[in-house]
Amino acid sequence: MPRLRKTTERAPAAPGRLAVRKTYKLYVNGAFPRSESGRSYPVTSADGRHLANAALASRKDARDAVVAARKAFGGWSGRTAYNRGQILYRVAEMLEGRAAQFADELLAAEGGTRAKAEELVAAAIDRWVYYAGWTDKIVQVVGNANPVSGPYFNQSTPEPTGVVAVFAPQDAPLLGLVSVIAPVIAAGSTAVVVTSERAPLPAVTLAEVLATSDLPGGVVNILTGRVPELAPHLAAHADVNALDLTGTGDLARELEETAAATLKRVLRPREDEDWTADPGLSRITPFLETKTVWHPVGV
């Protein structure tokens, strides 16, 4: 099991103490591998200070992540909705415990005031709680019985679509990140997430939270790296069922074209997304399939 870093680790170093610099890893299949490419890249703060090195994921890492997500899908989607809700709520509890660390990371990445950073962290944790509460309501809200003209039981229920490649927003490294991951897994799909390239550290910390939570390995896989390098491969991958193109910027059109070859479900980027607004079901339903079951009624 990966070990938790204590939140105090980022406290100012004692005078004269040499800081321990960090090179982070990917989060794939519940473990923390380095990129198979051996590459990493420097992450800097809003004002240009070196913060840490992050792994620079390769297409092979993306492929491994898809394999992990596919392997995890059967078990995760097969859990009861109540159990998924319990696990997600437990993640929210752990996020709360890391609030100060997330605020530090946001402040470093985005600049601005500490109060603003704390506000965004609070909103992110609340967003996670919001989706934890959706797990066992989606089927009731989105599914229904159908009054067909004949002696048949007929019912439509939503099911998770499968493996979703999620491109997290580039400019909302925590609230945006949880806002795109949580709805995918709340409904039972599994995710391969490509983080903000510039500000990946909140995602790295989220990975550490997920790794020590009850979330099964492979349900969320987190790749730090470059969208232009990873996205074309994920958009073409035949074992990826859907794409959330939120963080892909100018590449979105090309990726949607690539996705057409395997008829992936595609959530297109929206202009001027307000991450603080109530998302409703808008990020859940794009990754659902509707299954309709018929059975005759008779003695």
Binding site: V142, N146, V148, A259, L263, T290, K291
Partner: protein, 480 residues
């Protein structure tokens, strides 16, 4: 035994209940208007290869005109109209379809080749019911669970296939109009006539001009329509290949898209199934509509312990199917829709034989003229065979066996498609277990090929996305 059974006497439906014009123009802005080009298509009766009529081929200039008419109608009339009023137009249309259903059924059977029994008892009642169903939604959209004020998208470009021409038209047009959109619809190249009859129904219903526009043509017309930047929504039913092409064309434009594509449905028969019912379901699953059904149960997965008995009964049942004149009320299997489709079915059936699967067809006389293919059952099929992987879209069943329930599910899901599946078992818990695990949009348990306007239909994976029918079908045509 056989000599004690009376032969069926011919029971032909009258062709004279329908009059077909020698030639049809495009239906744009409420009127039939000539195409800007000279090209025409001749539509044939596939049962005897006799020409039925000529239809215009819409050019891209005609597509421009139709989209402009639809836009005008959307902006000025149909969009602003209260839902209750829109609904009443749809109720009118539904009623007219019912009133003229005999005529339309004959017309459909002539143009498509499908048996009158099916057009009369399935296509027409369902088409009318679809308009009735969505008519009632028009003034109740805030209750559909799609937000407090669902808004129409605008102009919908719709392209439909030849296997259920009028029914697919209803699936496309009824929800689009109910939600306040206007449409430009292209019927299939080989089956344009009921769509043109529908254009006249729109006139009879006094539907405002431009709300429904019908453009006949072939692939080029369809491509021009789905690529048209003046449309807000594309809806397509047809092959997965064309679906990919359309998804590429729509990518990056921000226009909405729903696709109902191919399938390779698994029909799973467990050892405790009621065998005679299962046999009926297998026959319905693959031979209904000559197998020209995207959700056909084209892969039979039968538990090994009952395979011999089931196949024996299945063959005995298939031997009783009557193939021939689509207008004969006793006909079970009509004509293959076109020469091109017949060639594809023959090609895949040949591939089945070449890959060492064992083909069987009943002794059955095929008419001399027209496009015909006998009901065919392939046994000894493995998952790698082309006939187990590719959509044949014809009366050809591939039989595979399994030993355990897990193996059945694994084989059923081993396909890029995910449109339909069937489960035959008398054990409720097993039925629900299987239904949960099958990755397909429609699961028929102890039944097959049932459709209803209230029941959402559509696929997982490469069978497309979006649903048609039911409350879910509204979502494809609104901004929530």
């Amino acid at each position: 035994m056989a000599d004690q059974i009376f032969e069926y006497a011919p029971a032909p439906e009258s062709r004279s209940v329908v009059s077909i014009d020698p030639s049809y123009e495009l239906f744009i802005d409420g009127a039939f208007t000539p195409a800007s080009g000279d090209e025409r298509i001749t539509t044939l009766n596939p049962a005897d290869e006799e020409p039925l009529a000529e239809v215009a081929v819409a050019t891209s200039a005609d597509v421009d005109r139709a989209v402009a008419a639809a836009r005008r109608a959307f902006d000025e009339v149909w969009g602003p109209m209260p839902g209750a009023e829109r609904g009443k137009y749809l109720f009118r249309i539904a009623r007219i379809i019912q009133e003229r259903s005999r005529e339309l059924a004959v017309l459909e059977s002539l143009d498509n080749g499908k048996p009158i029994k099916e057009t009369r008892d399935v296509d027409l009642p369902l088409a009318a019911a679809h308009f009735f169903y969505y008519a009632g939604w028009a003034d109740k959209l805030p209750h559909a669970g799609l937000g407090p004020d669902p808004r129409p998208l605008g102009v919908a470009a719709q392209v439909i296939p030849w296997n259920f021409p009028l029914l697919m038209l209803a699936w496309k047009i009824a929800p689009a109009l109910a939600t306040g959109n206007t449409v430009v619809l292209k019927p299939a190249e080989t089956t344009p006539l009921t769509a043109l009859a529908f254009a006249r129904i729109c006139q009879e219903a006094e539907l405002p001009p431009g709300v429904v526009n019908i453009l006949t043509g072939a692939g080029a017309t369809g491509r021009a329509l789905v690529a048209h930047p003046g449309t807000d929504k594309v809806a397509f039913t047809g092959s997965t290949e064309v679906g990919r092409e359309i998804a590429r064309a729509v990518a990056g434009t921000g226009r909405r898209l729903t696709l109902e594509l191919g399938g390779k449905g698994a029909n799973i028969v467990f050892d405790d199934a009621a065998i005679d019912q299962a046999v009926e379901g297998i026959v319905t699953g693959i031979f209904f509509n000559q197998g020209h059904v995207c959700c056909a149960g084209s892969r039979l997965l039968v538990q090994e312990s009952i395979a011999d008995e089931l196949l024996e009964r299945l063959k005995a049942r298939v031997e009783r199917l009557r193939l021939g004149d689509p207008l004969d009320k006793n006909t079970d299997i009509g004509a293959i829709n076109s020469a091109a489709q017949l060639a594809r079915i023959r090609d895949l059936a040949r591939a089945g034989a070449e890959e060492q699967a064992v083909g069987w067809s009943p002794a059955c006389e095929l008419p001399e003229r027209g496009y015909w293919f006998p009901p065919t059952v392939f046994t000894g099929v493995s998952q790698a065979h082309r006939i187990a992987r590719e959509e044949i879209f014809g009366p050809v069943l591939s039989v595979l066996t399994f030993r355990t329930p897990d193996e059945a599910i694994a084989k059923a899901n081993n396909t890029p498609y995910g449109l339909s599946a069937g489960v035959w078992t008398e054990k409720g818990s097993r039925m629900l277990w299987a239904a949960n695990r099958l990755r397909a949009g429609v699961i028929w348990s102890n039944t097959f090929n049932k459709f209803d306007p209230a029941s959402p239909f559509g696929g997982y994976k490469e069978s497309g996305y979006g649903r048609e029918g039911g409350r879910h079908g509204l979502e494809a045509y609104v901004n929530a």
